[in-house]
């Protein structure tokens, strides 16, 4: 066992140093594209670190959201950035490390940051070791929460209010993005036979996985966010293969899906309040199913929301004159 601890310690140190190195390279690399790729790698290794820290729930979320979707967002943004700058050379677009305003400023900055590190390290090292946290209370109340995965119990019961607000944040991001831009006339790409077949296989499978993650969340790692992220991955994949939301979809159905999770969340708690529960209180007997209901709605909304984030603007419904049926045809299934 001694060698095993040593080995795992060595692994942890390697992982930590690699994380730092990756972060450094991602931020300092001359080429933005390289930086983003390194950042995605950083995210994946972060997921590994979460596993090492006994946090599989976070690992899943990090891999799917932190590395996967954030990476997709970053790459998509970079592509649009470069598409807008065809006249300019790529080198100019990169804008690597700016020149220092003055040496003094730079020195001062480094000094301050060193002070920050010293302060943090000192604070962390001096932290009292007890730090029992809330594990005892969580364990005590877990049966009343309706789920057996303590993380899910915290997210959707003990601190459900945080989650409610967090979904509002997610909605807010979409609202902000929609207010900023209209997605330009999308170039409907032919998926092609191979991609078409693959996506036909993959999409149902991913939806299945998403459902599984959702279901398993009540007792093991997983839950609405992870499931939503997988759904979003499906959506992103579909967008990449040339699928576009149909004109009929981008109006109220899309808006409805975007707010669906939040609306169900609020509706459930309001109905319960009518029956005498306090705000976000789930009666223990019903808690499991209610949480699942909320999670299903939330996962759906999160999936759609994250996909919408990737789309990066509000899709404009086609003017009705330009052949609606045709559009619907290209949007969902293959024209071939």
């Amino acid at each position: 066992m001694e060698t095993l601890t040593l080995l795992s310690w060595a692994f942890d140190v390697t992982l930590g140093l690699t994380l730092m190195w990756l972060a450094w390279r991602a931020l300092a690399s001359e080429d933005l594209f390289k930086g983003i790729v390194l950042f995605i790698a950083f995210g994946l290794l972060m997921a590994l670190a979460w596993v090492r820290l006994d946090a599989p729930d976070i690992a899943l979320a990090e891999a799917a959201i932190g590395a996967g979707l954030t990476g997709a967002l970053l790459l998509g943004a970079l592509a649009k950035l470069e598409a807008g700058a065809e006249s300019r050379s790529r080198r100019s677009e990169i804008l690597p490390r700016p020149a220092d305003k003055t040496k003094v400023f730079s020195g001062l900055l480094v000094f301050l940051l060193l002070a920050l590190v010293v302060m943090l390290v000192y604070a962390i090292v001096k932290l009292p070791p007890l730090a029992s946290g809330l594990s005892a209370q969580v364990a005590e109340n877990i049966t009343a929460s309706g789920v057996s995965n303590p993380v899910t119990a915290t997210l959707l019961n003990f601190r459900a209010y945080d989650t409610l607000l967090e979904m509002a944040v997610l909605l807010l991001a979409v609202l902000g993005i929609r207010s900023l831009a209209v997605v330009q006339e999308p170039r409907g790409r032919e998926p092609g036979a191979v991609l078409d077949m693959l996506s036909h296989l993959l999409v149902p499978l991913l939806i299945l996985v998403s459902g599984y993650l959702l279901w398993v969340g009540s007792y093991a790692a997983g839950g609405a966010f992870q499931a939503g992220a997988v759904l979003a991955a499906t959506g992103v994949l579909l967008l990449l293969t040339g699928w576009l939301p149909g004109a009929w979809f981008v109006g109220w159905p899309l808006r409805f899906l975007l707010i669906f999770g939040l609306a169900v969340f609020v509706a459930v708690t309001l109905v319960l309040q009518l029956f005498g529960a306090s705000f976000l209180e789930f009666p223990p007997s019903l808690a499991g199913s209610l949480i699942l209901l909320i999670e299903v709605a939330a996962a759906l909304s999160i999936g759609v929301t994250l996909t919408a984030l990737f789309l990066g603007g509000r899709p404009q419904p086609e003017p009705p004159s330009s052949g609606r049926a045709e559009k619907r045809n290209t949007s969902g299934t293959q024209p071939s």
Partner: protein, 479 residues
């Protein structure tokens, strides 16, 4: 049972959230829905106020768990006054926005604004530092999206900078939350206040959280993002940001310093005071140098925020009350100023101070609103600003720290200089008159109502001061 589980605190948070969802879902009805909901929210804040005034401070355990496992909502005099000023300014700004935003922008404005309102109400009611982080993010993102609504290079650039600063501030704050949680095993403010002791981690948390919140509050020298953002946003948004949003992070700071970091932090408090003094002076001088009205008002905000930090080194009951009073009256006055500036901008198509004469004479109501709000900013009677300044001076003299008196005085003189610089122009006789777009009367009256509210705060100070004592947020009723 029903009476016990139902709480107006929750209503105050849920109503704007529902409003946001409805406005988003039914864009055609968004404006009217927004307005109706604004009235409803204000109404429920009034009911909550009534309840708090009768029953004292209220604590509500969300989900029935209670701290430390669950999240508590807490309302005392301090949070109640914040809620009320948000409701008042929010309602008036909503009315103003009915006329201000044309169909295209309105679709986006209303849901964003309702989410902003949700964030503020949730923030002022939260008793949980991690929950506060979430509300901070909600607030920050909503504010940024609203700034960007103006379009144009200036607004977008300012929004971008604002977003980055806001995120940086939140992360600093979150790091502090992490340290506090691991030191004391809770994120509830009241429990933290009980358990807190002086350790390196607490010091680090105090530094990080304070700096993070100072970024968001835009205290000198971390104010650099504020003037462009507040000046380039649409007028109602400028009003909301300057009047309310910067105050939200200040509120958290105040809470933390009052409850968690209250012990032996005199040196840090003096530092905050010095920065506040620098802000008062720097903001004032910069405001004097501006050529555009909205920039002037934005720098005036930088200066006025400085006053709020002068209370930290004084740290007496009177000083805290003075700070809060200044905060409230500044909220009303600054909102009135930005709305008035919006009217001028809308009317003449520009806000260059030097050419103001041709516009201002034809918008007497807006000009009056600006002038009255200016009186409050200068701290002249009759205005809330005067009462606040009086109390602050009193507190400074009583604590024997006379150097703050000098700062307050010079700040007031600077404010008088930059405000009369504007008012003076508006009395000039103009030869050429502008091609003008008419301004809806409701927009003029909205600005005036807020300015009058700021003036009334100078006459009816006893009531807010009595409300401040509910739950004794500033520690102890005496001294």
């Amino acid at each position: 049972m029903l009476a016990q589980s139902f709480s107006w605190q929750v209503t105050v948070i849920i109503l704007p959230l529902v409003a946001a969802l409805l406005c988003f879902m039914l864009p055609k009805w968004g404006r009217w829905l927004g307005l109706v909901m604004a009235f409803a929210i204000t109404g429920s804040v009034i009911v909550l106020a009534y309840q708090v005034m009768n029953q004292g401070a209220l604590r509500y355990a969300v989900g029935g768990w209670g701290a430390p496992l669950g999240i508590d909502l807490y309302v005392d005099g301090l949070s109640l006054l914040m809620l009320m000023v948000v409701a008042l300014v929010g309602l008036v700004v909503s009315v103003y926005s009915m006329a201000y935003f044309k169909a295209g922008k309105a679709v986006h404005f209303w849901p964003l604004w309702m989410l902003l309102w949700t964030a503020m109400n949730a923030l002022f009611l939260s008793a949980d530092i991690f929950n506060l982080y979430v509300t901070l993010e909600l607030l920050g993102l909503a504010a940024v999206a609203l700034v960007a609504l103006a379009g144009g290079v200036d607004a977008l650039g300012a929004a971008m900078r604002y977003l980055l600063v806001s995120l940086l501030g939140s992360l600093c704050y979150l790091l502090g939350v992490a340290l506090l949680y691991h030191s004391f095993g809770t994120v509830d403010i009241a429990l933290l206040a009980e358990r807190v002791e002086s350790t390196p981690a607490v010091w680090a948390a105090m530094a990080l959280m304070t700096v993070g919140l100072l970024f968001k509050t835009a205290l000198f020298p971390l104010h650099f993002w504020l003037p462009p953002a507040h000046a380039s946003a649409p007028a109602p948004v400028s009003a909301l940001l300057s009047a309310l949003v910067v105050k939200a992070s200040f509120y958290i700071l105040l809470r933390l310093w009052l409850e968690v970091f209250s012990q032996d932090s005199t040196a840090a408090a003096q530092l905050l005071g010095v920065l506040g003094a620098a802000a008062v002076l720097w903001g004032g001088v910069q405001a004097l140098r501006q050529t555009r009205l909205k920039m002037l008002i934005a720098y005036s905000t930088v200066s006025q925020i400085g006053y709020l930090f002068l209370v930290f080194p004084l740290a007496s009951l009177m000083a805290w009350q003075a700070g809060l009073y200044l905060l409230l009256s500044h909220a009303l006055a600054k909102a009135a100023m930005f709305l008035a500036a919006g009217n001028i901008l809308c009317f003449g198509g520009h806000d260059r101070i030097a050419d103001l004469d041709r516009v201002a004479q034809r918008l007497p109501l807006s000009l009056t609103a600006f002038a009255l709000a200016g009186v409050s900013s200068m701290g002249l009677p009759f205005s809330g600003g005067f009462i606040g300044k009086w109390m602050l001076l009193d507190a400074a003299l009583q604590s024997g720290q006379w150097w703050w008196v000098a700062v307050i005085i010079v700040g007031g003189l600077l404010a008088a200089a930059y405000i009369f610089n504007v008012i003076g122009h508006s009395f000039t006789r103009a030869e050429i008159s502008h091609e003008a777009k008419p301004v809806p009367a409701i927009m003029e009256w909205s600005a005036l109502v807020l300015a009058l509210a700021a003036v009334l705060m100078g006459l009816f100070a006893s009531w807010p001061l009595a409300v401040m004592d509910i739950g004794a947020p500033f520690g102890g009723g005496g001294s």
